[in-house]
Amino acid sequence: MSATGLNPGIIPSLVKQRGLVAVLVERELKARYRGTLLGYVWSLVNPLLLIAVYAVVFTLVIPARIPSPVPYPLFLFAGVLPWLFATGSLLDAAVVLPDNGPLLKKVVCPPEVFPAVTVSSHLVHHLLALPILLAVMVAYTVAGRMSFSWTIVLLPLVLALWVITFGGLSLAVAALAVHFRDLKDLLHNLLNLLFFMSPIIYMPDSVPEGTLRNIVHANPVTPLIVLYRGVAVEGHVPQASWWGWAIVVAGASWLFGAFVFSRLRDSIAETV
């Protein structure tokens, strides 16, 4: 091993460290639920509550003028769920390296492991919440308000695009946050703004034509949400242009994140 040689790529390193990533994800989940009575139920309460609030507000308080193709709570669910995966990953990535400072400074440990653990454990949470989405869909189907579609088999493909996009961005956030602690607060506000700029509580086409709609369509998160909701609950495969846009977003995010991370990698241990 040469301490001065080039860094190995992020992906080969993570493949090599997959065992470590796996046990760290396990630790993360175990440590989070140890000592609580309800355990993993808590990780479902948060999205469910959020969805309940939005559903009540937009169906009862201010009935949305949204021509939603499926019942609105389900529409909302399918938008909020992946969004929580994304924001959870990014916000945790902003603190994961400082939090693991002792490991980085006192044990020889490749730093890329930590953002990978963050993203993986949020992915696990996401997967644990999926059965609830499915249960709600089954309930609506039984009630005759929608029909279950085969397109849900495409969901893993769409999820992969989400993971690549936010995996890449989490790498960048993790490395930059070591140098600039303000990033966490900045990110918090940016994500709030982005939430309303993304078609999560509304359809992209229900935005009035003009600048606003252009902004929503140009938002790189939009294609990811359109794809997720399309295959998961709406039962149709979105147009190829949405797929193309999403693949570009995922590829660019990953390349950007990997580039930033590998440039800053060597300075992480001495700065955290």
Binding site: M1, S2, A3, T4, G19, L20, V23, L24, R27, K30, A31, R34, G35, N100, P102, L103, L104, K105, K106, V107, V108, C109, L176, H179, F180, D182, V260, R263, L264, D266, S267, A269, E270, T271
Partner: protein, 412 residues
């Protein structure tokens, strides 16, 4: 040496960027606006923690790093362990490195000792199955017993470090980096740790050790690198490096600043050793002596300022640095009275029972606390000859006594 060294450090240096608020804001602005983030720290900026270190550590060799706080010892350890990267020069390490920098670093308080041991072991580079295979040994060595399945937050600090040590030495590393951790735990566990480390030494692990316990350094390390303000001051046998460091500390305490020094000679020169030579019974200087013959070491000195606290000492080592013999007047109970003018100190050996080979002599005059007046390394050398080339360095007089005529004595 035919096998390549386990650690090879060439001209290594480390400069830390300055982390002032202003610097950070500037760099954030630079990063966002001009993409300056990864531009190399311009030379001359920041804090130079370490410079110009050259060091090779062979397999099975232990080298200690000594020096005052802030001298760059820990930085050097982190360069070797790969935690930090040098900003100049190169650091090459062959094989698996384990760093014992902070025991139990990264244990997660909420999960059990067993789970933490597995995670820590994997961080040290073992595979999951490797850790599982060694887990019984780890638990046994840590002496934690049934508590291994309790969350680590319930552990005492002693249990914490014991488990940390047990995991850290489990991978049997090629290179072990130890930072001042043997002071932890109770006496019994400290012995167990030392025992384990000497076991690793015997198995060929190269060890780099930082310790302020100079007695431990002399006992465990063959060589030592004395660092001061990030620069190497002296690299040599552990004993010589320690005495050099002690001399500096003592003279600083006496308010005189570090003693005037070159690599092989230092001291404040209140007393100087003008001649150090081996002489025969007639008093004539000799360079070659037959093994077992009488000889005398003569230390001629001159005193600039009369002294009441002084110790004469000598040490003999072989050319490869192995200590052969050393003594001083203080450990043998001689009471200093007064030293002034010129004079000489002699140490007589009725029979110099050394194996054949070349030997080097260090000689010194210093205070009882170790502040050097004059400490001269390798100030004199001599060659010992013998009819038989015995190995080692000790050649006592001896006679073979066969039980009856089973062998014939050598022809004269």
């Amino acid at each position: 040496m035919t096998t390549p060294p386990a650690v090879r450090i060439r001209g290594a240096g480390k400069r830390y960027p300055s982390l002032t608020r202003r610097g950070k804001l500037n760099s954030l602005k630079g990063a966002l606006l001009h993409g300056e983030l990864w531009r190399r720290q311009r030379s001359g900026e920041g804090f130079l923690a370490l410079a110009d270190v050259d060091l090779e550590v062979a397999r099975g060799e232990t080298v200690a790093l000594i020096g005052p706080n802030g001298s760059g010892k820990s930085t050097l350890l982190k360069l070797v362990s790969g935690i930090l990267h040098p900003t100049s020069g190169t650091v090459d390490v062959a094989g698996r490195v384990t760093a014992l920098i902070e025991l139990g670093a990264g244990f997660h308080p909420e999960i059990t000792g067993r789970e933490n041991a597995i995670i820590n072991g994997m961080m040290l580079g073992m595979s999951r199955s490797e850790v599982m295979g060694r887990l019984p040994d780890i638990i046994e060595f840590s002496g934690i017993g049934p508590f291994i399945d309790q969350p680590v937050k319930t552990y005492s600090s002693g249990m914490y470090v014991r488990l940390g040590f047990a995991v850290a030495v489990a991978p049997e590393p090629d290179v072990l980096v130890v930072d001042e951790i043997l002071a932890v735990g109770d006496e019994a566990f400290a012995h167990k740790c030392l025992d384990r480390i000497t076991g690793l030494q015997r198995n060929g692990t190269a060890i780099l050790l930082v310790s302020h316990d100079l007695g431990l350094v002399e006992a465990m390390a063959q060589r030592a690198l004395y660092l001061r303000e990030g620069r190497p001051v002296f690299l040599g046998s552990a004993r010589a490096a320690v005495s050099r460091y002690r001399a500096d500390v003592a003279s600083e305490e006496a308010g005189q600043g570090p003693a005037k020094a070159s690599a092989k000679r230092w001291g404040n020169q209140a007393v100087t050793l003008d001649t150090v030579e081996l002489v025969d019974t007639e008093g004539a200087p000799i360079q070659v002596i037959r093994s077992g013959e009488p000889a005398t070491l003569r230390l001629a000195y001159s005193v600039r300022e009369p002294q009441e606290d002084f110790v004469f000492g000598i040490a003999v080592h072989s050319e490869d640095g192995t200590d052969v013999y050393g003594t001083n007047t203080d450990i043998e109970g001689w009471q200093p009275q007064e030293l002034s003018g010129r004079g000489e100190m002699r140490i007589e050996f009725p029979s110099l029972e050394l194996a054949p080979g070349r030997y080097l002599v260090d000689a010194a005059v210093h205070t009882r606390l170790g502040m050097a007046f004059d400490y001269a390394c390798e100030v004199c050398s001599f060659l010992v000859t013998a009819p038989v080339v015995w190995p080692g360095c000790y050649a006592p007089r001896h006679h073979w006594r066969p039980d009856g005529p089973v062998m014939l004595p050598p022809a004269e």
